[in-house]
Symmetry: C2
Subunit: 500 residues, 2 copies
């Protein structure tokens, strides 16, 4: 009965949902290897893994959508049978706050944890903008010490080094308290100015894209963009805006120079002074760990959009150049960011719990590694393929593949087409370096033919005459009982010759 219904229904479309994607083969392996390198460093620093459920109650996720600048951004939510609203997590920080509040009596204090996994955003998909993507976070919950912030920065530096990016990154550090101090000095303290402060924060965050004048316009009346759309500004007076811009551009030649200038800008603000002091301490602690001012830069232009940061904020930037889609050469840019957020757990418990952490942009970092040739590009050699010459005897090729595997060689049997040409095409598609062939004649003679497919492909591109072709050693006959040794030798040759 049910069967009939399915038959009558129109065929479903075989499509990934809008804004989602699938990852195949080498892409999955490359991401996994990168994440393993990262989490090995995290574990080494005493961070423990946490894998929270992908689903949270909407109540627990709360209003902490990570970027208030995009009102369309939301979560995928549905109502459970008991009427509770459930949703897919949109980041790994909100679940951490929930987990910490729930289990705080059993967790060590501080609780250092890392988490890796997909998060989901119910936003308009676009080119390169997906509704499911990976995040990789490390956070320390329960310590208010700037040493915890410095530790996160140092661990991030070691992570990038472990990924082969030593000397190709800087870590920019700032402190929200300094900005708050400057705002205080500019007369923007208090709840009445919360809205204006929010606009200021987001304006500074756009410095890279809008430039100094664009940000300045957003601090004042507002700004018309290229399409003619007008964005209302914070409405600051020119002295106020001037003070803020002074902060944004306060970076000096040395960390000490920057701190001195920031000290002047915050004036008498206690919060501001505390922030400047913290920056100096972080710089000193990092210096003690061998991360000097050339690598850890105090940079007031880094504010990070998220409203929930309360102290130090940091960003890791890759400094090598790439050519972007428009053909322009530019620095690769940010691959990780984070900071201190002391109020996320408070929502649940009423008690303020200090916390600081970092989130790595997994896809961007993977793209960076790919640009530097630090990951397999999907061109890595496939398995050795054992051809099936007689469909009545599957046992022989299966045994040969098993022998190769037992010797540590990735190998499989060509199970698809009966036709030898098609099987070789399959081997080609699998990027196989070697094909193993044994027809009935060969079996009688106790030999097996090995075809060096990598060499064959190169020769096919280079060789011009038929005579040269047949004289080539791309194919050899070897005794059956020397199968493993001969395949191994051929693989070693292929690897040697394939190397740059």
């Amino acid at each position: 009965m049910a069967k009939d219904k399915v038959k009558k229904a129109p065929r479903p479309k075989a499509e990934t949902p809008r804004g989602f994607r699938d990852y195949f083969g080498a892409e999955v392996v490359a991401r996994q290897e990168m994440l393993r390198t990262i989490t090995d460093v995290y574990r080494h620093w005493g961070f423990d893994p946490l894998e929270s459920s992908a689903v949270e109650t909407v109540e627990a996720l709360g209003k902490f959508l990570p970027d208030v600048d995009r009102p369309n951004e939301g979560v995928f939510a549905w109502q459970d049978e008991d009427e509770t609203w459930l949703a897919l997590r949109y980041d790994l920080t909100a679940p951490l706050a929930r987990v910490y509040a729930q289990h705080r009596r059993d967790l060590p204090n501080p609780y250092r944890r890392y988490a890796v996994g997909p998060v989901w955003r119910n936003e308009k998909p676009g080119p390169g903008r997906f509704r499911q993507f990976y995040q990789c976070d490390a956070d320390t919950v329960g310590s208010g010490s700037v040493a915890a912030d410095a530790e996160i920065c140092a661990m991030l530096a070691e992570t990038l080094e472990a990924l082969g990016l030593a000397d190709q990154f800087v870590i920019r550090i700032n402190n929200r308290k300094v900005l708050n101090g400057v705002m205080e000095a500019a007369g923007l303290a208090g709840d009445d100015h919360a809205h204006a402060r929010g606009i200021v924060l987001r304006a500074i965050d756009k410095l890279d894209r809008l430039g100094t004048l664009g940000v300045y316009a957003l601090l004042g009346e507002g700004r018309k963009d290229e399409s003619g759309d007008f964005t209302k500004g914070a409405g600051l007076a020119s002295e106020q805006a001037g003070l803020i811009m002074g902060f944004v551009e306060a970076r000096g030649d040395t960390g000490a120079a920057t701190c001195a200038r920031l000290g002047e800008l915050v004036g008498a603000s206690a919060t501001g002074r505390e922030g400047v002091e913290e920056l100096a301490q972080i710089a000193e602690l990092l210096d003690g760990l061998g991360i000097g001012a050339e690598k850890a830069i105090i940079d007031p232009s880094v504010v990070r959009g998220l409203g929930y940061y309360t102290g130090p904020v940091f960003e890791a930037e890759l400094t090598f150049e790439i050519t972007d889609e428009d053909g322009n050469i530019r620095q690769f840019g940010s691959v990780a960011g984070g900071g201190r957020y002391d109020d996320l757990v408070k929502r649940f418990t009423g008690e303020s719990v200090p916390a600081t952490g970092i989130s790595i942009g997994v896809d961007r970092l993977l793209a960076a590694l790919r640009a530097k040739g630090r990951v397999a590009t999907g061109e890595e050699a496939g398995p050795v393929i054992v051809l099936v010459m007689d469909r009545g005897d599957m046992a022989s090729p299966m045994r040969m593949a098993a022998e190769l595997r037992a010797a540590g060689i990735r190998a499989e049997v060509a199970l698809g087409a009966a036709n030898m040409g098609k099987q070789l095409k399959y081997a080609d598609k699998r990027q196989s370096p070697v094909a193993v062939i044994q027809g009935s004649d060969e079996r009688e003679q106790g030999v097996v033919t090995l075809k060096d497919l990598a060499l064959g492909a190169r020769l096919a591109a280079e060789i011009e005459t038929r005579e040269e072709w047949t004289a080539q050693p791309a194919q050899v006959s070897v005794p059956r009982d020397r199968l493993v040794e001969e395949v191994r030798a051929m693989l070693a040759r292929a690897q040697g010759e394939g190397a740059p």
Copy 2:
């Protein structure tokens, strides 16, 4: 404004949603290590990873809920902005069918893929029954050869061996075609009897739980369970039911004996004969790969509930004994199962695509490894903890931790409490083997104190007098510049003594 609203709202509950759970530390590591061992074997056999999106259109997931026997079982679904219904995947097979149909022109044929990840079921949660759990699948799409089925079984055997379970498992193999042949012989062929066939299938699947008589009752009028609930049966006549029970109990002393008996039961049914022939071939191929009849058992009682299987079905069972919750000693039982399903892709393309695969019950297998002491139990040693004796000097402990890490030793600074006793309690909670302590006196003298926490804990349990206690070497003073060597020596001692 928004801030005020959040303040006024009642505090959210810090709770994992009903039926979901979080995984901490060693649990995450143990699962990851197990999955890595499994997928390393899969890759070695030429299987490529696929990571499809967690979200699918309900249309693509279709009616293929994996177990029609539980009508409450469903998916978590919601409507997208464009009105498409989306849902979380409930297994990894339905997404594979969608991915294969979508990308079949670009994929090799056959397409061998493995997939690992969470799946979600919108069903009533219960003890040990969660609404999100891991699956780990391997499938070969595009080959109709029994060699593909045999390969999956052999790979599964190698996987269990790689996990340290050699000689502790059997793989039971059956073939749906044989059962269909027996049904044909019993006069249950054709669409009119589809409903009865479904009941038969599910009844046999319950053999373990209900016993022979229970299954026999379900083949006939029906069965009253202990609670008095009546389950309607398939309504077969006694000769029909007898034939089916003959099939279920057809297992002989050898595979050949079983096949001979099955051959008699299917009578003239072409499908049935084909099924028996396939079973014999699979057994022969496995034997050729060194997996003999003692490990790969032809067992007609294995039918696997899922309606979509069309040919060979298999199940891996662990044979060692455990004591269950009721104190009864029983075999551990099934940890993986699968089979051939040739019609899943057809839904999308109209063309039948042969496919076969296996799914590992990740949580069950992990529990089995734990029962055999093959994974870390969460009691593994934590990081070395460097205490903070002077909050004004965070740089020194951070540098010591960095030196230890640079030497390959997992280490962290105790960032939490100022109080030394609390820091040692923290070290205890972290299951730290060694604490590193340097007060101001020690710094002046150029020494550092190492506390062997593992030894300390053992001594505290054994030592009776104060004199013995202070004479113990659980704490030593060493030169600061020999920090790494001395910690390493203490760790080696701790490991040596801690070993059974």
